[in-house]
């Protein structure tokens, strides 16, 4: 729970008019407009922001914000079952976007094909991880090997 900032002596007379943490709906609207890295940073600000940023619908919005047409409703349960939008963004969407475009990540418009490709790769990722449950290797957060090529830097 975020407390009011202790005002310094000079500000004692001037009461702040607006605390963002009192208006979570506005906060969410703002967070919705951030790009991936910024959202990650925002999650480190305080516990409230961290809780909000973990909300998968924010990441869903991030993934499909720039898709030309909104994805069909059947996508959500599939993505959630395969690991959620945050993971989808981290493992597939972000690397795919950064590889396929030179311009700013945020302004890029997705095509349906790129969405489809990301989802397919995401599914492959899940399948590979499921084979490792209970086996050795890293925890659920480690990227599956078959997607390592996405995480590696492009050779100049």
């Amino acid at each position: 729970m975020h407390h009011q900032k202790t005002p310094s002596s000079e500000d004692k007379e001037k009461r702040p008019k607006f605390f963002i943490n009192d208006h979570i709906d506005i906060l969410v609207e703002i967070l919705k407009r951030l790009d991936g890295p910024s959202l990650g940073v925002a999650a480190c600000v305080c516990r409230l922001w961290s809780t909000l940023a973990r909300n998968d619908s924010l990441w869903e919005h991030l993934c499909f914000r720039h898709v030309s047409s909104p994805p069909p409703s059947s996508v959500r349960p599939v993505v959630v079952a395969l690991g959620g939008y945050k993971r989808l963004y981290r493992v597939c969407v972000r690397p795919v976007l950064s590889r396929l475009s030179d311009s700013d990540l945020v302004r890029r418009v997705w095509t349906r094909d790129e969405v489809q490709l990301s989802l397919s790769l995401f599914c492959v990722d899940y399948y590979e991880r499921s084979g490792r449950l209970g086996g050795g290797g890293g925890g659920g957060d480690s990227s599956a090997s078959s997607l390592m090529f996405l995480c590696n830097t492009v050779n100049v």
């Binding site: 390592m148 090529f149 590696n152």
Partner: protein
């Protein structure tokens, strides 16, 4: 490199004795030339192949000096080089003298410079300084060394394109060209034109090392081909000698060329000595592990899966029950993506039935069932009704369609998928025809076939060898750029190395890597009663995007070839995906 020479010193002495006493009619004339050469200069013949004249007796001394030189150069990186550039060198192929002058600050006893009758004194004095910053002046000695006939015992062998001077047939040339472009980034002397005597490309900033790996690269290829020719002519003694040369030359290369040459040399050696790799039951497990690493390192398998899936998806567009028959299930990596696409199909997913076929496992574990279970879990997660059956078969030809319990076309829509599973059938006569007629009996809506795009199944060994050399050079070259754990890369290379070994060393039913080109498969499918189905632009787009994701992926190319898709490295197509349906099918054609 020096250690190799030390080791091969004894070999060379041994082989000298062998050759001088050889009474084989084929080698008679050549043996004499060899003897004369040996006695005349007393030079190490193996170094001579590389263009250096070093007395065999001086070998240890020269090696020591080289070591010292390496230390000096290593410890004085920036300054030391500029000092050395002022040194004057004569006769650079005289390795002993050259190293000596480089080490002029050390007061070692000068090894006697070899009075080289082949180097005209007047000319040699014009080859004065070898500046480390200036590569032009190397041209003369390099080309002179190149034209120096007696150094290359390989040239003494008649009828063999071992020596590149006159035997520049267009195929060898173009192959060298391609090989040069592919190893350009790896070799020390930077890339130059096709002609062997065009010398080095000038690269002022680069310190020049006299071993021009570009030149040795060319010689390496020619030696490999010469060895294959010798094998073709059943001249095994010669082939044996050449294979050893290849090993030496390969050591001076770097990167893809070295690996390819090493694998091919090993395969040739196996063929010569008749040490065929035993195909044990364990090997199928090893192959699967290797293939997983290959899957992860480079896009070939992913391309195969994604393009085949796209064709299957389009064929399944309106079906409510679908059945895929996978001729090689392995780890089932192809199917998650298809299942996901089916799950998100507008109108909801169909019932998905998968029949997986695989080879028997050594420890009798049911690998197919395990994969089926994993896929079933995935299907449940994403909400697709799933059914699985596994079939163990030594060969696809053993399958009868009735075993698969395929339901009639009005109940389920069938797709048959074969990723690199058809070419092994060519090892047994009649097998592929039987399988194709089995496929027809399954009444599939679509048949997807992915195969290597190369003809490694010609009747003549030498042709197969040349084809394979070119194909795998390109393949290895494409691997070089891949990022990721080096273990993956090594395993991928081992995976490909097994294929190379099979193509070169095995014969008869053991030779299962009988790759054929798309044109050849097309002919087969046409005559078996199938019509080509064009892969749509969706498949092309997806494939292009997939390739763009791979680091170092600039070299990959997707090509459309009369409705089929090919993935290649630069200009060379390497694998091809095609889709087929039954001829004069009553179903609506695309």
């Amino acid at each position: 490199m020096k250690r190799d020479h030390r080791d091969t010193c004894t070999d060379q002495n041994g082989s000298k004795g062998e050759y001088s006493s050889s009474s084989s009619s084929v080698l008679n004339g050549k043996a004499k030339i060899w003897e004369e050469y040996q006695d005349g200069c007393g030079d190490d013949e193996l170094l001579a192949v590389l263009g250096y004249k070093v007395r065999a007796s001086d070998m240890a001394e020269v090696a020591e000096k080289l070591e010292q030189l390496e230390m000096v150069m290593g410890s004085a990186q920036e300054d030391g080089i500029s000092q050395l550039s002022d040194t004057v060198h004569y006769n650079p192929s005289d390795l002993s003298g050259w190293v000596q002058s480089m080490l002029s600050e050390f007061n070692t006893v000068d090894g006697s410079a070899i009075d080289d009758p082949l180097f005209v004194a007047a000319d040699s004095s014009s080859i004065t300084s070898i500046h480390f910053s200036n590569s032009h002046q190397i041209e003369n000695p390099a080309s002179r060394v190149f034209h120096d006939d007696s150094e290359y015992d390989l040239r003494a062998i008649p009828g063999v394109a071992a020596y590149p001077q006159t035997h520049l047939d267009s195929e060898a040339e173009s192959r060298r060209k391609r090989l040069k472009t592919s190893i350009g980034s790896n070799s020390i002397g930077s890339n130059s034109g096709v002609g062997a005597d065009s010398g080095f490309a000038s690269d002022p900033a680069r310190p020049l090392v006299l071993v021009d790996s570009q030149e040795t690269g060319v010689r390496l290829v020619h030696t490999l081909v010469a060895c294959a020719e010798a094998v073709q002519q059943e001249n095994l003694k010669l082939a044996d000698a050449l294979v050893k040369h290849v090993g030496l030359l390969a050591a001076s290369q770097a990167g893809a060329m070295r690996k390819v040459a090493t694998y091919f040399a090993e395969a040739l050696a196996r063929r010569i000595y008749r040490i065929y790799p035993q195909d044990s039951l364990d090997s199928s497990l090893h192959i699967q592990i290797l293939q997983m690493h290959f899957y992860e390192t480079c896009p070939y398998l992913k391309f195969a899966h994604f393009t085949a899936n796209q064709a299957i998806l389009e064929a399944f567009a309106t079906a409510s029950r679908v059945h895929v028959i996978d001729f090689g299930l392995k780890q089932g990596m192809q199917w998650p993506a298809l299942m996901q696409a089916l799950a998100l199909r507008p109108g909801g997913p169909p019932t998905f039935r998968l029949t997986g076929i695989g080879p028997p496992q050594p420890d009798n574990t049911d690998a197919l069932q395990q994969v089926g279970w994993k896929l079933a879990q995935l299907a449940e997660t994403i909400g697709v009704e799933f059914e699985f059956r596994g079939f163990v078969a030594n060969s696809l030809a053993d399958l009868e369609p009735s075993m698969l319990e395929i339901r009639p076309p009005d109940v389920e829509t069938v797709a048959v998928n074969s990723c690199f599973e058809l070419h092994p059938l060519l090892a047994r006569p009649g097998a592929v025809e039987k399988v194709l007629s089995s496929i027809k009996a399954m009444k599939p809506k679509i048949v997807t076939i992915v195969e290597q795009e190369a003809n490694h199944n010609g009747p003549i060994f030498l042709d197969r060898f040349n084809e394979a050399l070119h194909y795998y050079s390109n393949l290895f070259d494409s691997l070089e750029g891949s990022s990721g754990p080096s273990q993956d890369l090594v395993m991928s290379e081992v995976y490909l190395g097994r294929q190379i070994c099979n193509v070169v060393a095995c014969e008869g039913q053991d030779r299962v890597e009988r790759h054929e080109t798309l044109t050849q498969w097309r002919g087969r499918m046409d005559s078996a009663g199938f019509d080509l189905v064009h892969l749509g632009s969706n498949a092309f787009k997806q494939a292009s995007m997939l390739l763009a994701l791979f680091a170092g992926g600039d070299g990959y190319r997707v090509e459309e070839n009369n409705g089929s898709l090919m993935l290649g490295w630069h200009t060379r197509p390497l694998i091809a995906t095609s889709a087929w349906q039954l001829a004069s099918s009553t179903e609506s054609t695309r």
